[in-house]
């Protein structure tokens, strides 16, 4: 995805009720792309999971710590990045929730849902701490306007 300015930047305190706020903003932006309700729902759910992880695991539920969210929309792509102030983690150490021994564990499904609902999920870890998860989804309807412009030119 080329570098594009964010459509939205949010910084919220680490409180669970702020997940609703972030999801509402993201889904509103997606509605402007005339995305279907299903696409909006699944992207919104993946963002929920990312923000919930940032609040709970990254920032340890400390409301003094912020979660930053940026939404970028380019023709055909939606990218949402979620940053926390935590110490980072090793994504490869997360247990497979589909393994029979993990199937009835109460937790550990958030990252799996993000990966299932989005096309790409990347983790970046800052030198000064903090984890950034970048979620990307290819959107057919968002690609249409650019294709139309290119045809005209």
């Amino acid at each position: 995805m080329p570098v594009v300015e964010p459509e939205a930047y949010l910084a919220v305190a680490s409180r669970f009720e702020n997940i609703e706020l972030v999801q509402a903003v993201v889904e509103d932006l997606l509605q402007r792309l005339e995305l279907g309700e299903d696409d909006r729902h699944w992207i919104g759910l993946a963002v929920r999971e990312a923000v919930a992880n940032a609040i709970k695991h990254g920032n340890g539920g400390d409301p003094q710590k912020q979660v930053e969210v940026e939404v970028r929309i380019d023709a055909g792509d939606v990218e949402v990045s979620v940053r926390d102030e935590g110490k980072g983690f090793d994504p490869s150490s997360v247990a497979d929730p589909l393994a029979p021994e993990n199937l009835l564990r109460p937790g550990g499904r958030g990252i799996f849902y993000m990966r299932s609902l989005m096309d790409k999920v990347e983790y970046r870890f800052g030198a000064q701490g903090g984890t950034e998860v970048v979620l990307r989804k290819r959107i057919k309807s968002a690609a249409a306007p650019r294709a139309e412009e290119e045809t005209r030119s």
């Binding site: 669970f16 009720e17 997940i19 299903d38 729902h41 759910l45 929920r48 999971e49 919930a52 709970k56 929730p97 589909l98 199937l103 009835l104 564990r105 109460p106 937790g107 499904r109 958030g110 799996f112 849902y113 299932s116 609902l117």
Partner: protein, 112 residues
């Protein structure tokens, strides 16, 4: 999120309305199941027909409720899954763990 409890024969039915999500709905499910078990319930049917959405925390609470009820010798089953909640349970293969029914009468009869 709102949960109400009713009884049909020996089956305790919990009607769940709204979001089963982190910080609100997930805790409500836990509390409602514990109250039902504390009141002597053995078999519990979670009616999700009016549930609007679920996230991984909510899914975790469904799993916890399932194991809590099983540890007491009962069964927890689901009825009326909205399509998106069904999809979420499919993704993590939990649809193979829970017994899921389309209608309440069939679900209640299955406990006998």
């Amino acid at each position: 999120m709102n949960i109400s409890q009713r009884q049909v024969g020996d089956v305790t039915i919990l009607d769940v309305k709204g979001k089963i999500t982190i910080g609100v709905g997930d805790v409500a499910i836990r509390d409602a199941v514990q109250v039902a078990l504390g009141g002597g319930a053995r078999d519990i049917l979670l009616n999700l027909i009016a549930a609007t959405t679920i996230d991984s925390a909510g899914v975790g609470e469904l799993v916890s409720a399932y194991t809590s009820v099983a540890h007491r010798g009962g069964k927890l089953k689901l009825v009326g899954l909205p399509p998106k909640i069904n999809d979420i349970l499919q993704i993590t293969q939990l649809i193979t763990v829970f017994e899921v029914y389309d209608d309440e009468a069939s679900a209640v009869a299955s406990f006998k």
